[in-house]
Amino acid sequence: MKMCDICGKNEATLKVRQMDKEGRATELNVCAECARQRGLSGVEEIKSDSGAVLAELRSKIEKQDKEIVCVRCGMSFAEFKRAGRLGCAECYRAFHQQLQPILRRLHGAVQHVGRTVQQGRKRAQERLEVQRLRVELEKAIKAEDYERAAALRDRLKKAGDETGT
C-alpha cells in the first residue's frame, strides 16, 4: 500500500504531478483527503489506475495551478512548476500551501532553523532606495537631462545620501 506523500497517513489513491528538487516534473502519490484540501472536488470517486480520468485530473490541476498567481510578480504556480524557479520573495507567500509538500520532500522540514536576519533591515531598505536613485541619476546625467538630474539629487539628499553625488 502506497502512503500519501503529503500527509503520510492515508493510503494514496491518486497520482499528481509535482516538482522534484531538480525542477523536473515528477509524480506524487496523494490521498483523497489531501487532494480535497487542495480544492479538488469529487476526486474520491476516481480510480487511480484509470488513464483517462488521471489525464482529466491533471488538466484540472494544471488549470488550477494557473489560477494561483503571485500578486507582486505575476508568476503563476503552473509557471513555477515548469521552470522550477520562483519569481520573487513574495511567491513564497503566494504559493505557501502548494510549496509545503515540495519543501517537505526536498528537505524533510518546513521550518527554518539557523541564522536569522537581525539588524540593518530598515537601514538596508533606505540604502536600496538611495541606490535606485543613484542609478537613475547617473542615467539622467548621461542623457543630459539636467532637470531630472537636479530633481533626483534633491530626492537623494532627502533619502539621506551623505555623498551627495
Binding site: 527554518h112 541564522r115 540604502r127
Partner: protein
Amino acid sequence: MKLVPEKVGAWLLGTGPDSEFVISTRVRFARNLAEVPFSPRMKPADGELVVETVRWALADSGYLNQGQLFTDGMLSEPDGFYFVERHLASPDFITQKNRKGLYVSDDETISLMVNEEDHIRFQALASGFDFATAFSKASALDEKLEGQLSYAFSPELGFLTACPTNVGTAMRASVLLHLPALVLTREIEKVLRGAYAIGLLVRGIYGEGSETRGNLFQVSNRKTLGQSEAEIIEVLTSTCRQIIDYEHKARQFLMHNLRVEVEDKVFRSLGLLRGARIISSEEATNLLATVRLGVALGIINELKIAEVSQLLVLVRPANLQAILGEKMDAAERDERRATFIRQKLVR
C-alpha cells in the same frame, strides 16, 4: 582590471589540514534582495540595480579594496571559464545572459557572483579540510553585507532563494576530496552511496552535472531547511572525516599489498606528463591526479602536493590560454599544454 593567471589562489597552496586527501573546503551562501524580482522575472534595470547595490555594499564594507569586481565583458563565454576553472564562478553563471558581476578577493579565497540563479552567491574557499576557516570567512562577509542590504528573509523559511532547493540557510558547504585509492580498490561506490543516504550530495570536480575526473569528488549538503548552519557543517565534517579514514586505509592497503603496481602507475603517469608532446586537458587531469597520489604516498619526493594541485587548475583550457596570453584552437592548446607541463615538471 587585470588577471594574474600564473598566481593561483591561496586555497590551492596545499598547506591546509589533510591536504593529502582534501584539495579544498568551501562554504557558499545564497542571498536575494527583498525588493527586487528573482532571476526569472528580472528586467535589465533590476539586474543593473543589483550589481550596483552590491558594488556599493562591497566598497562600504572594505571588501572592494581587497579584490576586484569584474563585470559583463570578462564574464561571458569563453573568457569567463577562466573563473569557473579556478572554482570562483559556476558554469551557469557564465552562460546566463542577465547583467552580472563577479567579485574576487586578491587571494582568491572569497568570491561573489551577482545575478547567478540568486541575486548574490558568495563563497569562501580554504585549503585542505578546513571548515573553520571557510565558514568564518563566508560568515564575516554575510554579516557585513547584511548590514548594507535588505535580504529576502522569512522567519518560517529562512533566506528566500529562487529555487526552493536552497531555501532556509541557503548554505552549501562542500569538500573537494581526492579519493584515488577508494576508486582503485572499488570501494568508492559504497562510500558514496553511504554519503547520499545520510543526506549529502556527491558530484564531480566542477559541481552540478560535471563528471568525476581525476578521482576528485565534491561532497556537499543536499538539504538547507530544518538544519542550522552548524548542524550541516557538523554532519559534513564527521562524514568526510570517515571518508578520509577509508581512503587512508585503502592507501595503506595498496602500499602493503600492491606497492609495485601503484609505483608503476604513478611513475608511468609522471613519465607520460614529462614526455608527452600533445596532451588533452582531460588526460592531463587524470595523470596529474595519479601523480598527486604518488606525492601523497611518498613515492615521488621531488614534487610537492601544492605544485600538482595548482597544475590541475593551470592546465585547464581557459587558464592555459590566460597564462600563454593568446587564444588557441584545441589542437594547438594540447601541444602548448604538453610543453607547459614539461617545463613545470622538469627537475
